[in-house]
Amino acid sequence: MFIRLGFQNAWRNLSRSILAIVSMAFAAAFLTYVISLGKGYANQAGQPLRSMLGGEIVVYSEKITAETPTECSSWSYRQGELDPFTDMEYLFPNMKSTGYLREDNQPGFTKEELKQLSSFDEINGIHPLYRLPAETVKVVDPEQSSPPLPEHLLRIQDDGSVLGPEISYSSGLQGRDWRTNQEYSLGHYITNGRWFEEKDEEDFVGVVSSLQQLPQWVHVPLPGEKITLEIPSFRWIQGAWQPDYSETHRFEIEIIGNVTVQSRTVDYIAGIDGWVTEPVYAYFNEIYIPQGAWNQIWSVVAGGLVYVPSEVLLQVDDLTFLQDIVFDLQSQFPQFSIIDIPHQLERVHANLSLEPVVPMGARSALQDRKEQLNQGVLASDLRLPIALLVLINAALLVAANILILVAERKKEIAVLKAIGARESEIIRMVLAEAILVSGVGALLGFSLIRVQAFLNQWTNALGLLPLIWLLFLDLVMILGMTLFAAILFGWIPAKKYASLSVMEVLRNE
């Protein structure tokens, strides 16, 4: 009876209740934001880049991204000379000219560190990036080239036949394991030919992108064609691989497949057509070959030295806790740059490096969206105190709301008491209203922040049950905190007013 009266009270003074609900929602949203663990990415987040690199977390052995530095370190500016054994050369080519900041002491991966990385909680697999700089050499056929070759480029042989020029362009040679999961191979991006199979392991066969940035007269090799690779020899000098171009090796590789990677779709307004959705494709000159073949090439060009990677890809089961894993990794390995793929993709998209060909109308729209490196790494060691202080603040807000609700009804409470209501019943009435208002507010604030994350996680490999359990945990935490505050701080004023004598209240009116 009195609980219903409390609900009626909340309904009667609707505008004030709504105000209280809004402020509670505000507090709950803030709390959710601070304590909610699984922010979560959708299953498909950054899929093209995950396939191209083969993992969900990128670890560079040199520290180039400026997450809030926790260790005392000195940083300096570098220009040119990007590490050709990483994917930075084709993901961030602009760094080469504009330069970048880099931490000075960069130790590179040691065996122990790689072992630690792979045995880290939640990390399922570790995949070093087997990549080396290569030059693709192509002899142009003067008969078939269009536009026709200028005469000074033609080479006339002793027997009178005419040869076209040898044109070379830089590529990256990546070794890929055919055994990896579907999602880490470019298998489903194949548009022509096929991806690697078991029988290819030791063969010199390759897969290239059907969209590349190439010099004039050269076309993208199709399946069945052969290409020549020129690879420098490598020496290990001062903790880094140093290419020696005076001593090069040539390898012939048969192309067995072409991939076309769609990196995203862009929506833009085009004249009278209104909104147009167009796919944007990734252009890259990488050549993928089977791991076994890559190892053979490496043993030739490096003179038998063991390959030390400077980039490692880590694989996780699902993307629900990706940011938290990255956060933990970063605090354990402050000497490396650790970036999750969705963030990496954001950065790649921001400088349009993989997408030299973008629909005309979309280019300006994309340029507008261009931002600086967005590494929204939230403050590290203050998370807990801030959450606590926010909780105190939220609790005080609840208290203030309930104080208002009760103080407004001083007279009503006195009347209720006059017609025989007991103290405990009055308290029950007030608390019912307080719980209703803060509960609705907390739910509102919670769903405001958490719904999107939930929908994202839905697509993951997590399974519905653990997902709901996760959601439930968060909800219980938020509701528990706000309701605890509501009951505690509601009880004090309710008790105070309920224990006032009827005469005293009514006399003062």
Binding site: F26, A66, E67, W75, Q79, G80
Partner: protein, 512 residues
């Protein structure tokens, strides 16, 4: 003046003190909120500060023998004249006619040099080689300590000293390099090391003669430009500098000694931008909470305020009393916040805040911000207390912030206007929506009216907005139509003037 202020404060002092003791819990809550907000914002702010400003010291500035290097875009021609200003700096004149005044001096470029950079493949990897003219003023100056000689011949190549140690090079060694023309055709060539050297600066590159570089790249015009200015060190306004460089060299890359710092600041700004929103959220939180509490306290003692107003307390005294009781507890909260921060940073947080200037700066900054939000939050009840009349305080359910009073129709339609003039009546238009009267009508049709008597009123916008219709003269209500809200008043005296509406042009038609 001074005495009257003294009396003013003397008169409210006791009341203020009593109020504060009476509302100690509620005001204590305000103090607690302020303390919490200050603690959060200062701790968070100091963390952000440490991340950006303090780590700035860890960034090494570049050492360069020139002031600015411009990497020209493909197809961009180097400039031959520099009639633009890189920026200005200010200094105070200490002598002469302008003594004591601040003089703004433009920073101009005195000298510029060119180079042609080519990328070649070499035993040292892919390296950038600069073709430099022998008359160059930057790369042939005395600051370079060299061994051997600068490149003179077509086959000469000169290396920075760092290369010699790393790759074990010697004078006279041959280096086989290859380079691509614009079609992608490679040419191989052997160069001989003519010298080593260093100026102790960063970004040093191997050098060849300009002719060699031109032969390698197949390009005549240089693609690097080096600017030297005598007063470049005094430049602090980077935004103007970037603007000018963008005008002079559209789309090209510029490199200068402070670039790492400028890049770092940009990066930190991008990283910390969400943190600033969090701070704003904390302050908004405070404002909402303080507003709730102050409003509640006000509502609870409406009657008391009405009595105080009745016995002659002025509006100023009232608002000062209300404001000061909140402000004093706000200050108390601020002090508590300072203590909290000190305790937390000493005990809990391993990186204790030092008592340096940053410490005080942060407290001053965030204190000022909290004060601003605080003042906004307490403004509303203060305003209410000030504008509300005794009657409103005692009886009104809502005290409006905005009040509109009408004694006429603001813009009557033409037929109403005609009727007003022909029948000699006055009209009001009450708020009617879909044929239903929203305003509360206090008088009936046929009832006599006195001038200034309220005929109808209406609250809207949750009680914030109050509208009132009152009688413009003594008279009688002749009719009221609920369909359009028209209320017609017949004035008692026949001389009562009909209000004139200047927006209507009465009278003749004009020929156009």
């Amino acid at each position: 003046m001074n005495r009257s202020w003294n009396r003013f404060f003397h008169s409210i002092g006791k009341l203020l003190l009593r109020n504060m003791i009476r509302w100690k819990w509620r005001l204590g809550l305000v103090a607690f909120l302020v303390a919490g907000s200050i603690t959060i914002s200062v701790l968070y702010g100091s963390m952000m500060h440490q991340a950006s400003e303090l780590s700035l010291n860890q960034i090494k500035p570049l050492q360069l023998p020139y002031d600015v290097m411009v990497i020209l875009n493909e197809g961009q021609v180097p400039r031959t004249s520099f009639d633009f200003v890189l920026g200005t700096y200010r200094y105070e004149e200490t002598s002469g006619a302008l003594r004591g005044r601040t003089v703004s001096v433009p920073i101009t470029v005195q000298q510029f040099e060119n180079a042609l950079a080519v990328e070649v493949q070499s035993p040292m990897g892919l390296i950038e080689v600069w073709g430099i003219e022998s008359s160059n003023g930057v790369f042939r100056s005395d600051i370079w300590s060299i061994e051997g000689a600068w490149p003179k011949d077509n086959e000469d190549i000169w290396f920075p000293t760092a290369y010699r140690e790393m790759f074990d090079l010697n004078l006279g060694d041959s280096v086989s390099v290859s380079y691509q023309d614009r079609y992608g055709v490679r040419t191989r060539e052997t160069l001989f090391i003519c010298g080593f050297g260093s100026s102790g600066s960063d970004l040093e590159k191997p050098q060849v003669t300009l002719q060699t570089a031109q032969r390698m790249s197949g390009q005549k015009s240089p693609n690097r430009q080096f600017l030297t200015s005598l007063t470049f060190d005094k430049l602090t306004d980077w935004s103007l500098f970037f603007l000018r460089m963008e005008q002079a060299y559209p789309g090209s890359t510029i490199i200068f000694e402070q670039l790492p710092q400028v890049q770092w600041q940009g990066l930190m700004g991008a990283i910390q931008s969400p943190g600033k929103w969090v701070l704003l959220l904390v302050f908004m939180f405070l404002a909402v909470a303080v507003l709730t509490i102050s409003l509640m306290t006000f509502l609870e003692r409406k009657q008391e305020l009405a009595i105080l107003k009745t016995v002659g307390m002025s509006n100023e005294q009232l608002s000062v009393t209300l404001f000061f009781e909140l402000l004093l507890f706000g200050i108390l909260g601020y002090v508590m916040g300072v203590l909290f921060v000190i305790v937390i940073s000493q005990i809990w947080w391993n990186q204790a805040l030092g008592f340096g200037s940053i410490f005080f700066l942060l407290f001053a900054q965030h204190g000022a911000l909290v004060f601003v939000f605080f003042c906004f939050a307490v403004l509303y009840p203060l305003l209410l207390a000030k504008i509300a009349s005794v009657n409103q305080l005692l009886y009104a359910r809502d005290i409006p912030l905005w009040v509109a009073r009408y004694d006429r129709v603001p813009s009557p339609p033409t037929d109403w206007l005609k009727e007003m003039n022909s029948e000699h009546v006055l009209m009001l238009k009450l708020t009617v929506v879909d044929g239903k009267l929203l305003s509360a009508l206090l008088k009936k049709v046929g009832e006599p009216l006195k001038k200034g008597e309220v005929i109808a009123f209406m609250y809207s916008l949750a009680g914030f907005y109050y509208q009132e219709w009152f009688s413009p003269c003594d008279g009688t209500i002749v009719s009221f139509q609920e369909t359009n809200g028209r209320l017609v008043i017949k004035p008692d005296s026949p001389d009562e003037p009909i209000p004139s509406y200047s927006s209507f042009i009465q009278g003749q038609k004009k020929q156009v």
